[in-house]
C-alpha cells in the first residue's frame, strides 16, 4: 500500500469521475454541506444516519452496510473515491468503514472538499441517479478495529496515539473546540499515550503532508515504528484519519482504530487515567 494507491487529486477526479466503475462519495462532518453543493456526480453518505447503529453504540452491521451500498448503487468492484470537509476527517472515517467491511478499492481525494472549494472548482446541486446493486460485504476485519480490553492491555507495550487536541489530551477540554463542552466522563488520557493531534498530518489546505514529514511528526512524538499501534480520539472519527495515515500512507502493518475512544475509556470504572500534558 502506498500513497498513489489510496490518494487521488482533483485533476484525477475531473478526468475520471465519469468512468464506469468510479463512484464519488461525499461524507461530511456538516451533513448538510452536500445539499448546498457537491462535486458533480458525487453521491452522499451521512456518517450519522447511514453509518451508525440507531440504538446501540456501534456501527451499522454487515447487513446494514450491504443494504446501504446496494441502495446507493455501489458495487463490490467499484473504485470508491471519498471526500469531505475538515481535512477529510469524516471521509477518512468512512474509508475505514469500507476497509472494515472488505471493500478493496477505496481512495481519498487529497485535500477533500476544502481544497476543492479553496481552488474555486465547480460544485453543483444536481443529485445523480445510480441504479441499485446487490452489494456483498465481508465480515468485519478486526485487525483494524481495537476494543477496550486490548487498549488497556496495550498500555506500556504498544504505541497508543491520542490524536485529540493538546487541551483534550491534558483534560482541560472534553470535546473539540467547535463543540459545546458537555461530557459526562472524566478528562485526561490513557497512560503512555503519545499526543499527536490528527490535524498535524494535514497542511492548512487539507492535503496530507509528505511521507517524510509524517514519519518525522510521529517519530518525534515518541511513536515506535517497530511495534503495533492503536489510535484513539473522542469517538473514533479523528483517529480514523490517523489510522489512514499510519496504515495506508506509511504502510505500518498493525494499526488499529479504537472507535470506543475517550467517551468509552473515560467512562470505564477502574482504568488508569493520566492528567496533564505528559504521556
Amino acid at each position: 500500500m502506498s500513497r498513489s494507491d489510496v490518494l487521488v487529486d482533483a485533476d484525477w477526479v475531473e478526468a475520471h469521475r465519469d468512468d464506469p466503475g468510479v463512484v464519488l462519495v461525499e461524507v461530511d462532518e456538516d451533513t448538510s454541506a452536500y445539499d448546498k453543493g457537491h462535486i458533480r456526480g458525487a453521491i452522499k453518505i451521512d456518517w450519522k444516519t447511514d453509518l451508525q447503529d440507531p440504538v446501540r453504540r456501534d456501527f451499522v452491521d454487515r447487513e446494514g452496510f450491504e443494504t446501504l451500498l446496494s441502495e446507493r448503487g455501489i458495487a463490490g468492484d467499484d473504485t470508491v473515491v471519498l471526500y469531505g470537509g475538515n481535512n477529510n476527517w469524516f471521509a477518512a472515517y468512512a474509508y475505514w468503514y469500507f476497509k472494515l467491511y472488505g471493500h478493496q478499492d477505496v481512495k481519498l481525494l487529497d485535500g477533500g472538499r476544502k481544497k476543492w472549494e479553496l481552488d474555486s472548482r465547480e460544485l453543483v446541486t444536481e443529485v445523480p441517479h445510480r441504479a441499485a446493486t446487490s452489494y456483498h460485504a465481508r465480515e468485519q476485519d478486526k485487525s483494524i478495529r481495537a476494543f477496550r480490553d486490548e487498549v488497556v492491555a496495550a498500555i506500556g507495550s504498544e504505541n497508543l496515539i491520542d490524536v485529540r487536541s493538546p487541551d483534550e489530551f491534558a483534560g482541560r477540554l472534553l470535546a473539540p473546540a467547535h463543540l459545546p463542552q458537555e461530557q459526562a466522563q472524566r478528562g485526561g488520557h490513557i497512560p503512555t499515550a503519545r499526543n499527536v493531534p490528527w490535524s498535524k498530518a494535514a497542511e492548512d489546505d487539507g492535503t496530507f503532508k509528505s511521507d517524510d514529514a509524517l514519519r518525522t511528526l510521529y517519530g518525534d512524538a515518541g511513536v515506535n515504528f517497530d511495534i503495533d499501534t492503536i489510535a484513539y480520539c473522542r469517538i473514533g472519527e479523528r483517529s480514523a484519519h490517523t489510522w489512514f495515515v499510519m496504515h495506508e500512507l506509511l504502510g505500518q502493518p498493525n494499526v488499529k482504530n479504537y472507535d470506543g475512544s475517550w467517551t468509552e475509556y473515560g467512562s470505564l470504572v477502574g482504568v488508569p487515567i493520566k492528567l496533564g500534558d505528559e504521556s
Binding site: D30, T31, F90, A177, H178, P180, Q181, I235
Partner: protein, 100 residues
C-alpha cells in the same frame, strides 16, 4: 451533546445552549461588507490547530474554547488567509469580526 451525536458541527458552528459554562469565541468574516464563504480555524497559543468550521451563510463561526489566548485563522478561496488574536474567558463570548 451526547457521544452518539459525534463530532459534527453545522457550518458556522454549533448553537449555544449554556453560555454560562463555556468560553466562546465567535464572529463573522466579511469582505467589503459581504459574508465570505470559507473556513475558520482555531489555533492554540503554540500555533497548533485545535478546530475548524466552514463559515456559515452569514460568514459566521463559533468555537467553544478554554480560557486563554487563541489565534483565529480564516481560509477562503483566492488564497485568502488572515490571522487574528483573541482571548477567551469562561462565561463570556469573545466577539471577533474579521474583514479580509
Amino acid at each position: 451533546m451526547a457521544a452518539s451525536a459525534g463530532c459534527g458541527a453545522p457550518a458556522g458552528g454549533a448553537e449555544v445552549t449554556d453560555a454560562g459554562s463555556q468560553a466562546i469565541v465567535q464572529g463573522k468574516v466579511t469582505r467589503e461588507g459581504a459574508p465570505v464563504s470559507g473556513y475558520a480555524r482555531l489555533l492554540n497559543s503554540g500555533g497548533d490547530f485545535v478546530a475548524e468550521v466552514p463559515l456559515g451563510a452569514d460568514g459566521g463561526f463559533r468555537f467553544f474554547a478554554a480560557p486563554g489566548d487563541w489565534t483565529l485563522r480564516v481560509l477562503a478561496p483566492g488564497g485568502i488567509k488572515a490571522d487574528r488574536q483573541v482571548s477567551a474567558s469562561t462565561g463570556e463570548i469573545a466577539e471577533l469580526d474579521v474583514a479580509v
